[in-house]
Symmetry: C2
Subunit: 196 residues, 2 copies
DNA sequence: CTGTCATTTGACAGTAGCTATCAGAATTTC
DNA sequence: GAAATTCTGATAGCTACTGTCAAATGACAG
């Protein structure tokens, strides 16, 4: 019923234009050397508007909307599976929906995030949120408390595993199958107790 | 031969005074509500001097000097031990040298770091450095490359394990034995493949 | 189409973290 | 005690970020 009116379409457009122009300018002149003012001007809005869309300069690169997707897919998994298997499945389902363009965008963003300390630092704050999300979901499924040491440890390790995999993949120029394969390798390594 | 001259003593003193006054003011008025100017004034120096001792406001809490210690102790371990066992031993040796006052200081700092997002973000940058350090040491010991996926994954997991343990411990009021015990529990959980 | 209402936007002013520079003070060295 | 080195404080300036208010814009009822 609720058509995306003109107002909402314009908002999404502005958001994307800010992200794109920012990435372009960061690539071109470097992250630190690019000011909010320049990004806003390139996107044809005022600096005030930039801050209405992104709380910080870092967020124009780091922000994503995967958390709700993770929750949805996780809860649709059979409750019989072990948490780690359920999380493995979550990734397969998510990756399956990615287009090549999505993947290239992710790679570009991830490379930038791992190259710029400030972005990496900000990324962590998001990761912490994801970790707490996982903790709540896994806790409920296993009938434990989200504050339980082993739950916290488990979820932190999972997220670390994901992070290592995606950073290693981003350095290559492989497609989404390679990303999935690297994730699997890391999770298997974790499941085996991280032997060397 | 090289006596710690007056100049060097004063420097160390100023550094400690800045850290102490900063922690006190942060506790009292909150991290964001405390300015560099206030810290500098409380420590009896100018804001310029603050920045000569700490590159950022966050560093006055986050900065520590454990990395070189870790390297020393790790390299003094028998090369026959598995890397994970060697790292376990590193912690025991390090903890053994901590006084009760050290431990209380660590707890206070850790609590603040986990309570203030900006500090936690900065902490990660330090953690990344520690991770790369471990990667180099473990790589050399196992005859692999520091860029090897499994090496990177292993070291990232170890550091995550440490981080979870120390944050869980900091929430309690246990002593250093409890800290060591929590670390052991986490590392054992990791070694077992993080089962739930 | 028009007037009204809600939302979005831009301009402006201000705070604070951080950098660079430079003269003067303190400490070390000879 | 003089010269060389290092440390400090003052100043000026840039930029990220916040708060406020009036103008512009799209939504909607009549």
């Amino acid at each position: 019923m609720n058509r995306p009116g003109l107002r909402e379409r314009k908002k999404i457009e502005t958001l994307h234009r800010l992200q794109e122009e920012a990435l372009r300018l960061f690539d071109e002149h470097g992250y630190d050397a690019t000011t909010i003012e320049q990004i806003a001007e390139a996107a044809g809005v005022s600096p005030s508007t930039f801050y209405r869309y992104f709380p910080t300069k870092e967020d124009v690169v780091v922000q994503d909307e995967y958390d709700p997707l993770i929750v949805n897919v996780f809860e649709s998994q059979s409750a019989d599976d072990a948490p780690l298997d359920a999380l493995r499945a979550v990734l397969s389902v998510l990756f399956a929906e990615f287009t090549d363009a999505d993947i290239e965008r992710v790679r570009r963003r991830v490379r930038m995030i791992f190259a710029v300390p400030a972005l990496r630092a900000r990324q962590v704050q998001q990761t912490v949120a994801t970790e707490e999300l996982l903790a709540r979901m896994v806790a409920e499924r296993t009938g434990r408390s989200p504050g339980d040491l082993e739950i916290r440890h488990f979820t932190a390790l999972i997220v670390t595993s994901w992070t290592v995999a995606i950073s290693a993949w981003a350095e290559t120029d492989g497609g989404k199958d390679d990303l999935a394969a690297t994730m699997d390798r890391c999770l298997a390594h974790l499941e085996a107790g991280a032997p060397l």
